[in-house]
Amino acid sequence: MVAAPHTGPPRTRRRSGPARPSGRGPARAGRRPRAGRSAWAAFALLTAPTLIGLGAFKYVAIGWSFLLSLSDARGTIAPGRWVGLDNYLTLLSDRTFRASLGQILLFTAFIVPVTFAASLGLALLVHRIRRGRAVLRTAFLIPAAVSYVAASLLWKMSLFNGLPTGIANTVAGWFGMEAVPWLQTTSPPLYWVVLVTLRLWLQVGFYMVLFLAGLQGIPQDLYEAAALDGAKGLRLLRSITLPMLRNTSVAVLMLLFIAAFQAFDEFYNLFNSGLSGTGAAPVQTPLVHLYNTAMGSQDYGLGSAGAFVLTALIVGVTLIQGRFTGFGRKEG
């Protein structure tokens, strides 16, 4: 999907070269209006369900939410008591929300490169082996199908619980370490171990598959040509594989950024203590904070304002990233 352009230039030229002048041009020009109309009809027919769905369930909701963000909407989702930018000001002056923004930036700065490197590394390894590739690929992809909630419960109750009999503590015990409450230890912040391993386990397989698709799209003759020139090992990786994976990498990077900023599930489920919520959690992502604001305190105006602040942040980061990595730019 993402890697398609790589294979593009040489092959298309070869294929379309001789076929072009065989009188197709004028015939197509003559049919264009009718084809256009029926094409439009087909386009409308095929996209209408999605567009209507998107419009009704996404854009109307987004617009509504924007109106709410400008209203005093506590215990109601009817906009109308306009307060201008009050909600935004309240939110940005709220230390907890600002702290949550800081924490998510930190989290992103860490998890994105780590996930990226891990999935690229795995993809390179899996791509190289000859036997059992499909089995390995499936094995790594399966966690991507596990829900964050299920995985969080597994991590919290079985792997990283605070008892000496927890799996992580048992393993640590073999090396003579004392049993620790992983999620509750704030100095050093051991809870990050739980959060990061969980996200890696769930995500790496999926991005590995994207990289694998990219790797399979790299024409073999490039490697052969390079081999003839005497290139091998790291040189091949640096000069052929990585540059040819650029588009895949850029897309993966963008997806990782967005996924990191939207982190909610594992933060909520790992720290949620049922009746008392996530108020005392050592780290709150912006979405967790907003969830508590909207669903707990029923302040939907403030919650909506936060959603827009977060969206602005994601859009901003994506644009900056696009500028630096050249996402969507045509292949030179």
């Binding site: 230390r95 199908a145 897309a251 009746l275 108020g279 669903m295």
Partner: protein, 425 residues
């Protein structure tokens, strides 16, 4: 971009279909319509929500009450929905929609619901029974002079301890905070901790600490947990953490007695509701205590929570809903007694019903009821998620030793005061 879309739609699709399946399971499993036979003649169907009580038999009892009500009022059918998970969030979200329940219970009554006009005033339901409710039950649901709910049960939360474990260690049940810290430390061994307050290491303890040193949480719309006494007691909690005497990250949280009954800890903060389960597991080998006074001049504390029945003011069947609440929680004292003592133990908020509850009349259950009468305090009505989160987050930082306690608390007070002002204004 295409990859992103595929990923999202895959997730959404899975999520969506799971939700549909789960919804189906929930509707078939949890919401039953006992009035179904009678519903051919019933003109209205009331939708009644309960949070998922953990004790066996509670759900069946709720259904039985509903059937009995329909028998007494053939024109009103009752559909009981048993709601697992984050009950507060679900209630809050559903109240904005047409699917909102007509009657629902809330734990720790929140004034904000009444001030926003989401629940109906129920003064006229009480009649002469009003004086029969205990003071906390009336004061707790009073907002601007009107009663906005009927207290169904009082839940008392207190400290359980294993008598035998304490005797083995040569410890007497702690009566001061210093003794509690010492006992928790002495009972901590290489394989087990001494005290379980909650998986996050806090549970109710910040609230109890404040109360045990003569301080208050919110008084007359003024946030009071920033007072020097409150700060002193909260900072004191740090000792339990520094000693590493607290059980953290257990598989069930403090409101479930498993840690105590499975001999993982010898002391646990839990509730009266768990007493039948504790008794089954430990026999007579347990006792109950209040949270001890922080120091001389302070007072022991127990928390009184519980559940309150409310009527959705914007529902379609407000009158029928009122009739249901009046019938079940004011008239039918037999059912109230059944609800309070037949499944988990709870204290009936009506004095006459409480006096007749045999199972609460002896042993540790009786002691708990007495503790509640003597030291029990409910959370203030302004104690909503935002206020509680501000307080708990600050307490977590203080006991974790991150930063200057006074400054952390001052910031939390500011945040909480803004919320309280908004609620009242």
């Amino acid at each position: 971009m295409s990859a992103h879309r595929t990923e999202l739609s895959r997730r959404r699709f899975l999520g969506g279909s799971l939700m549909i399946v789960a919804g189906g399971v929930v509707t078939t499993a949890c919401s039953t319509n006992p009035g179904a036979d009678a519903s051919s003649s019933a003109r209205t169907t009331l939708n009644v929500w309960y949070h998922a009580y953990g004790e066996a038999g509670a759900q069946q009892a709720a259904l039985r009450y509903a059937t009995a009500f329909t028998k007494a009022h053939p024109d009103i059918a009752v559909k009981v929905t048993w709601v697992p998970g984050d009950y507060t969030a679900k209630i809050n979200a559903t109240l904005l929609t047409d699917a909102a329940p007509d009657v629902f219970e809330i734990g720790d009554f929140s004034d904000a619901l009444a001030r926003r006009g989401q629940i109906a005033a129920l003064d006229d339901l009480y009649g002469s029974a009003r004086s029969d409710f205990n003071d906390n039950a009336i004061a707790g649901v009073t907002v601007d002079g009107k009663l906005y709910g009927v207290k169904m049960i009082d839940d008392v939360m207190m400290l359980y301890f294993r008598k035998s474990r304490l005797t083995e260690a040569g410890i007497t049940p702690p009566t001061t905070f210093d003794e509690l810290v010492a006992a928790a430390k002495a009972l901590t061994t290489k394989t087990g901790k001494g005290l379980f307050l909650g998986n996050d290491g806090l549970g109710d303890s910040p609230i109890l600490a404040v109360r045990s040193n003569g301080a208050d949480l919110v008084a007359d719309g003024k946030v009071a947990f920033g007072s020097p006494q409150a700060l002193e007691a909260l900072t004191g909690l740090r000792r339990l953490h520094e000693d590493k005497s607290l059980l953290l990250g257990y598989t069930t949280d403090w409101w479930d007695p498993s840690a105590l009954t499975q001999d993982v800890v010898p002391m646990q903060w839990c509730g009266l509701w768990a007493m039948p389960a504790v008794k089954t597991a430990l026999g007579d080998d347990f006792g109950v205590l209040p949270w001890p006074a922080f120091k001389a001049g302070g007072s022991p504390a127990v928390r009184v929570g519980g559940w309150t029945s409310c009527v959705n003011a914007k529902g379609r069947h407000v009158d029928a809903a009122k009739k249901y609440v009046q019938w079940l929680w004011i008239q039918e004292s037999g059912l109230q007694k059944d609800w309070a003592e037949s499944y988990g133990f709870h204290v009936p908020p009506r004095k006459s019903v409480a006096a007749g509850a045999e199972k609460l009349s002896g042993g540790p259950a009786r002691e708990t009821v007495e503790l509640a009468a003597k030291y029990g305090k409910p959370n203030p009505g302004t104690w909503d998620t935002a206020v509680s989160d501000a307080f708990r987050a600050a307490a977590a930082k203080i006991v974790g030793g991150q930063g200057d306690p006074a400054q952390i608390m001052a910031e939390a007070v500011d945040r909480a005061q803004t919320v309280v002002d908004k609620q009242r204004g």
